[in-house]
Subunit: 241 residues, 2 copies
Amino acid sequence: MPYDAGTTWGPTVNDLGMPDMNARLTVRDRNGAMHQEIRQRICLLDYAPGTRLSEAALAQEFGTSRTPIRRVLAQLEDEGLVQSRHGVGTIVTDADINELAQVYRLRVELTELVGRVDPVIPGVEFLDRFDRLVARGAEIIKSASPHEFTRFDMEVFHALLELTANEPLRQTLERLYFQTKRIWLKTAIEAQLDLEEEFRIFHHELEAIQLALRSCDLQAVAHIQRAHISMSFKRLQLQNT
Amino acid sequence: MPYDAGTTWGPTVNDLGMPDMNARLTVRDRNGAMHQEIRQRICLLDYAPGTRLSEAALAQEFGTSRTPIRRVLAQLEDEGLVQSRHGVGTIVTDADINELAQVYRLRVELTELVGRVDPVIPGVEFLDRFDRLVARGAEIIKSASPHEFTRFDMEVFHALLELTANEPLRQTLERLYFQTKRIWLKTAIEAQLDLEEEFRIFHHELEAIQLALRSCDLQAVAHIQRAHISMSFKRLQLQNT
DNA sequence: TATTCTTACGTTGTACACATCTTGTATGTC
DNA sequence: GACATACAAGATGTGTACAACGTAAGAATA
């Protein structure tokens, strides 16, 4: 399946009627979109840890040569999601429970910062959007596919990231999120953690955050997230031993 | 001046008598060394904000083709130190006082974490090394070249980074350091901040940290750093307005 | 049969030619 | 003389051929 750049996300064809004033930025955007796409596949375990990614195959799929693909894979390597080895291949990285613990300890601390450094008081449209997310979450619990649920988790994460205006903090948190989420999911499946239970707990977290949001208490939002991130890893550790 | 890869840093020729068991890692190391070199030049204002870096010139200097250089420049772009624009060039980025403030707010918080998350109790050899650093700092105050002083500042920063074993925290702090230091230095020079006074304050900070280190109080070390980072930016803001 | 060497294949890394884009300059025109 | 236009020069982005490298399969041998 070739990767159609024009219709899905690229601003090459603007979905508004505007004459494409800034359609020239496609070069950077295309790389960004490929990066996001491959990163999501890794996070959703479509590319599980250990998978060998072929530059040639990706190039063919995205309809480019190897060069832009290598640019994206290099970025993913700097983010710790893949590792290229000469003569072998580009392999999706794995992490043992100890490395994972390190990242989690930092994530927990950084998450708390969202409520404290450059907080953004959410507007009405944000609250509405979050309400819809909570409602969708209740539905998704029932279907309960890990793939779909993780997709939903990503969406919620990115929404809550908007609660801080501190761009470096956002970038760092995003980085750590993608480093941990896939390993958590993989380990949780291996350790036969009760995923349905995890989904229910996540939905409870959303409801608690919803309450805190309505009070415009961003520090409370951050503390709730912090607590749940910490607890979800603790449950994984307990089950894993 | 051609860039001699073999003698300065590369493990191509091992300075110990060991047969080069792991000399095969040169591929990755060479890119890492070029990255470190260019990043240092940017940080020391050898490449001031606005400077146009030529891929061809760098390729010639480092004795490679443009391809590995582009790999390094892409990494620097992801770190926010340069920005490549098609048809124009690769330009060293600048930042206004507001962007700088954002990064500083995060740096301040993260610095405090060094003393709290995965702290490393320093051994005797570390204390000795730090003592030598403090002594060298007293000497450097006199010569007082911004270039040399920033080099020293970098060395101290990397030494203190060893006080946490949390690798993601290290990477993040290093990233933020290189984003802020060069802009601070440039702005400080422009605002005619008293650099000698800054150097003396920094040396006081080192002595305070030395004291805290001898007490093995890493949280105190972190708090001292946090306070000085915050204060040095405050002084810059005051002078700048 | 076990073991070692060789060899072929696929992968990433590098170099280079070319495409595409931006900008400054020179030229023609009003 | 002012302004618009065309063009040339130089930069980054892309595609491709080749080199360097590791792995696994297979053949040769003890």
